[in-house]
């Protein structure tokens, strides 16, 4: 089929023809078309169904403000709902589908809603689905959910890649119409770093849509020539298909570049879209203006569109919506459309103008009156006109262009709390005085609606922002017509006259909400949903405000606007995520011996982004407990090895290092001898325990501090805070060395014998006793650090080597440990052994416990100041009967003792007021042959041997337990000193 509504001329390439499909039917269009223009060229006016009433709809606009022509673009995983046909660039093989219909687009079963429109008015859902209450979840909500929403998702993973990028410039120009181009020329020629961004795929803005000449050539030609000059300037970056979506703090703008949306699939290695963060010193906002419609009865039929959109379709895309067109206007702009279409050979049925002093024409009839209704089932056939003299006329037309004046696109001026001001000459809001930092508004966005005004405004904005000296070069000659508009928002008596076509809000709905007491514009918006659709009311908000103002007897500026928020147009979540998806959203940190652990078949667990081996199953083990029990028993019997690289490490150096540690730890470090390690407890300033670890004094002025894995970052931040903000004159330096050293715990009775085969120094008990530390060498010269510390309670060492040697050291330990039957153990066995020893960990240092709760109250030194000392002595934290750490064992060895369960007295009620404490960490102890737990109990240290109940009402557990010392194994610590 030929393109029956294709005109001549335009900026499409008639020699390059694309085939595409809409609702399964094949059509042809040209390079340079949008999906909307190509469909119109083929005589397709009906493009979708409306949200609520399922009324047939076509295009209203020719740009990103489109409320109606939303389609599902592409198929398979790339299917994208709610794509505006007016901005979707045509490519060969494009497939699109209409949405929001049950059945075909022409016979939508849901169109029945239109018959019940009297019931489906504003607030329908609030009023209707109230009773019976039980119906909401079971009946109403599922039905509404099914009916609501536009378009459908593919439910497949997005196959495309999105990127993020950063740009810096002196001047960002938003919009490439006459104002933007003029600003870009002025700025570009001055040598400033300029970014010129436009959401369109063809730069030039309205110049491509109008027939005005600039300097003797067409606007489109002038735009093309200007773009050629700008492209040749190395200091100007031109960004087509790039929507600036928001103005953020301090001259930062967000922009989405659609790199590949005009292609069937992105080129290899190219992202689909890029989110740019643009840092600019200055900004010229040249975002243009958006024409607004007039509301009249049945103003939503396919074929009824903005008069300016008709000009765009005719002049840029060489398309008319129909061969017979009528115009309804309140300003001179409507007449431009009639003249342009007439010049292209389209029949003008008439121009209906609400103004008595409308300009006349030799080429077509101009009627003084109003369009009061329309007819046509799936598209416009007739427009009924009521003339000023009271008579009526019926115009036969397949398309009706409507012009209600222009609204400057002030959105970006309001993203930093600015509010627009009312301009009564334009009957529109223009940018207010309170603009984002460094922004000047030019052209139509500033209310300068003539081409000359735009060229001048753009050049002046660039000149003033950049401080360019001298006079501006002479601007080319062009039109400078004054605005002549008579405010006219809706036709008297209209009720089913659409204000917001995307959310199906009518004049009647606005009136109803006013009647029901919704007087604030923000309330109107939320009650009627006016302006809340994906187009954010770009073509509809003003109409709603005008009606509200009239009903309230106020002026429009008194009613005010709702707040403009980013993004300017709908933005894909994918581009906000960028590359941060899947693994890259949540990166994993791997220790140097990760590969070795993988080879051993380790099961990993994530701890503070690290992957740590949880246990190492061997052949025949079917349950994790089998592996963990084996690892624990083998370590306590002979020797085990565990990767503890992930513990935070902070290097503390300087003459005041010991004094500094005295400040951050509650216990004392000043007297710690060189070559010794000490356990340290850090408190928060409020007296609550923050973290624990060890500090090893390698030299008079050199300590190595460890933190827990999860707290490595916050503890380091805290230490820097103390150093810089509280003790600025201490001579001490900190650096995190967590990633610099690989560290392994070697634990068990044979630990020394094993390490003696690796280290180059004497590590006998006399030479290297419990809590010793030293810089040593291993394997004949490799530098290493050795600490005789024990988390397991066994004779144990931690040995650290530079990260690059971590894997080799682990393999070496395994090799020389073979004769001792060495067993690698994971975090579970580590956990079992520390619970058997009653050592506190994250479950105990849980942000609510004090040193006293942990049984370490004596550690808080009274001889020195330290963080948290003063508030740790508060009465409230030191009351009689406070929680104390205890051990918990079941009376019947077969019973479980779940962590999280609460301790209750042997008799009495089980409720919160009788709560005695709770279990924090629990495990099965293979050494004892039953479950054990540690936890906190009121007055716990005085209650050893007491029988209690450990209850978990949630899981139905109630176990009889005995309170014991938390040191289940080797309470005197003989093993670790061996």
């Amino acid at each position: 089929m030929t393109q029956k509504n294709r005109l001549s001329g335009g900026q499409i390439d008639p020699n390059e023809t694309f085939s595409f499909k809409f609702d399964g039917k094949s059509y042809q269009g040209h390079k340079g078309d949008t999906l909307a223009s190509a469909l119109l060229a083929n005589g397709v006016r009906l493009m979708g169904r409306s949200f609520k009433y399922h009324r047939p709809r076509g295009v209203l606009t020719a740009g990103s403000e489109e409320p109606n022509a939303l389609v599902e673009l592409r198929t398979g995983a790339r299917q994208e709902p709610n794509t505006r046909a007016t901005t979707a660039e045509l490519f060969d093989g494009l497939v699109a589908k209409s949405q929001n219909r049950l059945g075909s687009l022409r016979f939508d079963a849901m169109a029945i809603n239109d018959r019940f429109s009297n019931f489906l008015t504003a607030g329908f859902y609030y009023k209707t689905f109230m009773w019976p209450k039980a119906f909401w979840e079971k009946v109403y909500e599922p039905i509404i959910r099914k009916a609501a929403g536009l378009g459908s998702l593919s439910l497949e993973d997005d196959p495309d890649v999105y990127d993020k990028g950063f740009l810096h410039c002196d001047l960002l120009i938003i919009g490439s119409g006459p104002a933007g181009l003029s600003a870009a020329l002025t700025a570009g020629r001055s040598g400033a770093q300029v970014i010129l961004a436009d959401e369109d795929f063809r730069m030039g803005g309205r110049l491509n849509s109008e027939t005005h000449e600039i300097g003797g050539t067409s606007g489109a030609q002038w735009a093309a020539a200007t773009m050629a000059e700008l492209s040749a300037l190395p200091n100007v970056r031109i960004m087509t298909r790039t929507t600036v979506i928001g103005a953020f703090d301090h001259g930062i703008y967000g922009a989405v570049e659609r790199v590949s949306d005009h292609l069937a699939t992105p080129e290899a290695g190219k992202p689909r879209q890029i989110l740019w963060r643009i840092y600019t010193k200055h900004t010229v906002l040249a975002a243009g203006a958006t024409e607004r419609p007039i509301a009249f009865e049945n103003n939503d039929r396919p074929g009824i569109m903005l008069a300016s959109a008709m000009r765009t379709y005719a002049n840029r895309f060489a398309v008319t919506a129909d061969q017979r067109v009528a115009i309804f206007t309140n300003n001179d702009d409507g007449h431009r459309t009639a003249a342009d279409l007439h010049a292209k050979g389209v029949k003008i049925a008439a121009v209906v103008d609400v103004r008595a002093d409308a300009p006349s024409s030799m080429d077509y009839e101009v009627l003084h009156g109003e369009v009061v209704n329309t007819k046509g089932r799936l598209g416009l056939s007739f427009a009924e006109v009521k003339l000023a003299d009271g008579s009526t006329r019926t115009l036969e037309a397949g398309a009706l262009g409507v012009s209600g004046g222009w609204n400057p696109n002030v959105h970006m001026t309001c993203h930093q709390r600015g509010r627009p001001t009312w301009n009564s000459d334009l009957a529109a809001f223009v940018p207010g005085a309170d603009l984002p930092m460094g922004m000047v508004v030019a052209g139509a966005a500033n209310g300068d609606l003539s081409t000359h005004g735009a060229l001048l405004g753009g050049a002046q904005a660039a000149k003033s922002l950049l401080g360019i000296k001298g006079r501006l070069p002479k601007l080319p000659e062009t039109e400078d017509a004054p605005v002549n508009v008579t405010p006219f928002w809706y036709v008297e008596g209209a009720s089913r006259a659409w204000i917001d076509q995307q959310n199906d809000v009518t004049v009647k709905d606005v009136k109803l909400s006013h009647q029901e007491g919704f007087r604030s514009v923000e309330h109107l918006k939320r009650y009627t949903t006016l302006g809340m659709a994906t187009d954010q009311g770009k073509t509809s908000n003003m109409g709603g405000l005008a009606i509200m103002a009239e009903l309230a007897g106020k002026t429009i500026p008194e009613v005010g606007t709702t707040i403009f928020r980013p993004p300017y147009t709908p933005t894909a979540i994918g581009v906000l995520a960028g590359r941060h998806t899947g693994q890259d959203f949540h990166p994993k940190r791997l220790t140097p011996s990760h590969k070795w652990a993988e080879e051993r078949g380790a099961v990993f667990v994530e701890v503070g982004n690290w992957l740590r081996a949880q246990w190492f199953p061997i052949a025949g083990e079917t349950h994790w407990r089998e592996s963990v029990d084996r690892e624990v028993l083998a370590t306590r019997k002979s020797v085990g090895v565990c990767d503890v690289t992930t513990l935070g490490k902070v290097d503390v150096q300087g003459p005041d290092a010991a004094q500094f540690l005295n400040m951050v730890y509650c216990n004392g470090f000043a007297k710690l001898a060189v070559g010794k390690t000490r356990y340290g407890l850090m408190l928060r300033e409020d007296g609550i325990a923050m973290d624990d670890g060890t500090a090893a004094r390698l030299a008079e002025d050199h300590f190595v501090v460890t933190t827990t894995t999860a707290n490595a970052l916050p503890v380091y931040r805290h230490m820097e805070f103390v150093r810089q903000c509280l003790a600025p004159d201490m001579d001490v330096q900190l650096i995190s060395t967590t990633e610099a050293w690989a560290q392994y715990a070697v634990a068990g009775p044979n630990a020394r014998k094993l390490l003696e085969k690796i280290v180059d120094v004497d590590i006998s008990n006399d030479a290297f006793p419990f809590m010793a530390c030293a810089n040593i060498t291993i394997c004949g010269g490799l530098r290493a650090r050795l600490f005789r510390i024990s988390f397991s309670g066994e004779l144990a060492y931690e040995i650290a080597v530079p990260t690059a040697y971590g894997d080799a050291l682990m393999r070496k330990i395994m090799e020389v440990g073979e004769e001792f039957n060495i067993t690698p153990y994971g975090t579970e066995a580590l956990g079992v052994m520390r619970i058997e020893k009653g050592h506190a960990a994250g479950n105990e240092l849980n942000g609510t416990t004090t040193a006293a709760n942990l049984g370490m109250g004596h550690m808080v030194s009274s001889l020195k100041d330290s963080i948290g000392k003063v508030l740790s002595q508060r009465d409230g934290l030191n009351a009689d009967g406070d929680l104390r750490q205890v051990g918990i064992k079941p009376v019947d060895p077969a019973d479980p003792v779940p962590a999280g369960a609460h301790l209750m007295n042997a008799d009495g009620p089980v409720d919160a007021t009788h709560d005695q404490g709770y279990a924090t960490s629990a495990c099965y102890s293979p050494n004892l042959g039953h479950s054990i737990a540690i936890g906190f109990l009121k007055n716990g240290s005085e209650r050893m041997g007491e029988r209690m109940r450990l209850v978990s009402p949630l899981t139905g557990v109630e176990t009889e337990v005995e309170i014991v010392s938390a040191h289940f194994i080797d309470p005197d610590g003989e093993r670790l000193r061996a």
């Binding site: 703090d249 930062i252 300033e685 409020d686 805070f721 810089q724 903000c725 508030l871």
Partner: protein, 95 residues
């Protein structure tokens, strides 16, 4: 937001970690008779002004400086950025 780092020049705020009121620098004297009260106020009572506010920002993904940033919480305008260490010294914090 952009924070004018005194040593490194303009840096994006996403490189920083925020810790609120810079009064945290003014840690009370633990030896004072009123220490318990002083530390309670220091730890728990903070202003949350709508307007100018001295705040602590940590350049965590940078040079690890703590900064005192004077920022208007209503407009996000930043009028002054100093090294917290310099502020601490100026406020008389020594060894």
């Amino acid at each position: 937001m952009i924070i004018e780092h005194p040593l490194l020049g303009p840096r994006d705020s996403s490189e920083f970690t925020y810790m609120g009121d810079a009064k945290l620098i003014d840690r009370p004297d633990p030896e004072a008779e009123t220490a318990a009260r002083d530390f309670y106020e220091y730890g728990y009572l903070r202003d949350n002004p709508a307007g100018w506010h001295d705040e602590l920002w940590f350049h965590e993904q940078g040079d690890r400086s703590w900064l005192v940033v004077t920022r208007n919480t209503l407009t996000h305008e930043i009028s002054k950025v100093e090294l917290a260490r310099d502020v601490a010294r100026a406020r008389g914090r020594s060894k």
